[in-house]
């Protein structure tokens, strides 16, 4: 890959970057909807998130992230998941 990349290589780089971003957006959306269902009471008696909901959301995001990493490892996946690891 040293030297100037060819047009084809550049196209591939762009295309991969696009797929990766789509992937992350989709992951973020699935996480958001899943944690909303798991943590937020759906009678909507209030328009504020209460303390219990807030801490549930934080933990839900953290666990979802761990599941993503765990499944990634099982799939022999080194790529789509971010460079930095999740907090322990």
């Amino acid at each position: 890959m040293a030297g100037v990349p060819s047009d084809l290589e550049r196209e591939q780089i762009f295309s991969m970057a696009e797929k990766e971003m789509e992937y992350r957006v989709e992951m973020f959306n699935k996480l958001t909807h899943t944690c909303f269902k798991k943590c937020v009471e759906n009678k909507y008696k209030d328009s504020e998130l209460n303390m219990g909901e807030n801490s549930c959301i934080d933990r839900c995001v953290s666990k979802y992230w761990q599941v993503t990493n765990l499944v990634g490892t099982l799939l022999g996946n080194t790529r789509p998941i971010p460079v930095n690891d999740a907090a322990p």
């Binding site: 971003m21 328009s47 807030n54 959301i57 934080d58 930095n84």
Partner: protein, 93 residues
């Protein structure tokens, strides 16, 4: 869409940066429209169950408002946590 979802662009040449930025903007527009659609679907499903009239009654409207507001607050919070994880920061316990 959260900033942290966007990779490191600094290493790219100028023309490619512009193109990448345009692509990101495209995805953001699409994403925000999708979010809008999902939000409507979720709040409608949770709040509207009676079809005896063709207009929302007061109670349904209140429910939809709260649902949307809660969802937005939720979504922002998730975005913050998500960004922290993307950067490897420790999270609140």
């Amino acid at each position: 869409m959260d900033k942290s979802m966007i990779g490191d662009l600094d290493s790219l040449p100028e023309a490619d940066k512009l193109r990448m930025a345009a692509m990101i903007e495209q995805l953001q527009v699409r994403d925000s429209l999708r979010m809008y659609n999902s939000l409507v679907e979720r709040c409608f499903t949770d709040c509207v169950d009676s079809f005896k009239r063709k207009t929302l009654d007061k109670q349904e409207e209140t429910c939809v408002r709260r649902c949307a507001e809660k969802f937005l607050k939720h979504s922002m919070r998730v975005g913050l946590r998500f960004a922290e994880l993307n950067q490897g920061a420790p999270t609140p316990d």
